[in-house]
Subunit: 243 residues, 2 copies
């Protein structure tokens, strides 16, 4: 499995993805699930993927080929919406073709889901979730984040904390706490975590950072969060009706 | 959906279940998912169920009919293991028969999963998870709790806190925090929550309590937990590499 989260906030956008892929428990590898298209001053797009690795790699290759073929980088398209449409079209095509070619002779799931966010010159920052069927949804002020992959373990902290006014540095903390809960409860999500920040109107990636098992900050955060939770838990009132 | 959790601890056992059932989003009802078989001084069994409501009700009816037919209450069987076997047999039979009768003409999922715990005279307390296929697993010192239904949102706090030495009153707090996270992130799990405690060697239910929306203690616990999480989150260190 996979875990990816992206947020669209007033200050900009945060993207985070784990890097574990597995076909069964005994075939575990590490693949970066984040793809960045960047043209400084013109536009920046960040793509996170979950699902079938062959499908996602083929879709990303097709997007790159499309840009080369039309001689127009994705960052020069008229809107992130148009890029989402293009992504959806290729995703549907790849999934359909792979399924047809397998002729129903396998129970492999060829589907994949993408998060696509960024900002192109002339537009506000936008964040989309693209489904395996090729359709997609966009964040709003009410729902400022999307998750794909193994999303349930890490959702409660996002539900509590994420809203558009959240500063980006808090968003990083929140995303890492969400990953901590997920990694703690699910073997199929693992380090390293790839992080990228895009600040509003900078049309470039403001920061990329890879968090591995030796990352001192993440280790500290995990310890502090765990001890803090324990403290809050211990201070919770006892039920009066229990004794 | 449903959310149920049960723990087998040194002091005794805790059982908790929500009471929301739904067939689609517009057909939501409230049903107690906890069944207690009690014979004071002889034995106590608590059953929690998730999955198809018709299946679970039929299985419980069959267990009661079996006891009546053999003139032997479940609490007089030789072990909780034997009750789990009987439960698994009836569960498999009900699911198989319903599936056969529907002749594959529906995509309704007739399966169900049970938690069965308790203590019978002459035995230690035991807790089982019974699968739709009728087979089952038992808690050990390494894994002192089971969940069924919508289990992922509420698993992180259990992973952090539950171990056999946990006192029962802490177990209640922990279960309710787990329910709070689940209810906050998933519409299909809802109040009231049914709670039951079984203390070791008492061979009776030590406490039953139903928590509804007006429950002052649960409201306080949710507020304190939410504010505490916020406080711990705010105190987490900032990443040095962000600025």
């Amino acid at each position: 499995m996979t875990y990816c989260v992206a947020m669209s906030l007033d200050e900009g956008m945060l993207f985070a993805s784990d890097s574990r892929t597995n076909a069964g428990l005994d075939h575990v590898s590490s693949f970066c699930k984040m793809t960045v298209f960047e043209q400084t001053g013109q536009g920046v797009l960040v793509l996170l993927n979950s699902g079938n690795l062959a499908t996602t790699q083929q879709v990303v290759s097709r997007l790159k080929a499309h840009a080369k073929h039309t001689d127009k980088p994705l960052t020069e398209m008229d809107s992130v919406f148009s890029v989402a449409e293009l992504l959806g079209k290729h995703l549907r095509a790849v999934v359909n073709r792979t399924e047809e070619e397998s002729m129903g002779q396998t129970d492999v799931d060829f589907s994949a889901t993408f998060l696509l966010g960024g900002q192109l010159r002339g537009e506000e920052p936008r964040l989309f979730l693209v489904y395996p069927q090729g359709n997609f949804i966009e964040t709003t002020a009410d729902t400022a984040f999307f998750q794909i992959g193994e999303s349930k373990y890490g959702k409660p902290i996002l539900d509590r904390v994420v809203q558009p006014a959240l500063p980006l540095y808090e968003a990083v903390k929140c995303a890492l706490v969400s990953f901590d809960s997920t990694i703690k409860s699910n073997l199929s999500v693992g380090l390293p975590i790839d992080l990228a920040l895009v600040r509003r109107d900078q049309f470039a990636v403001a920061m990329r950072h890879r968090i591995d098992a030796d990352d001192a900050y993440f280790r500290q955060l995990r310890t502090d969060w765990s001890q803090g939770l324990r403290r809050v838990f211990n201070e919770l009132p006892e039920p009066g009706w229990l004794r």
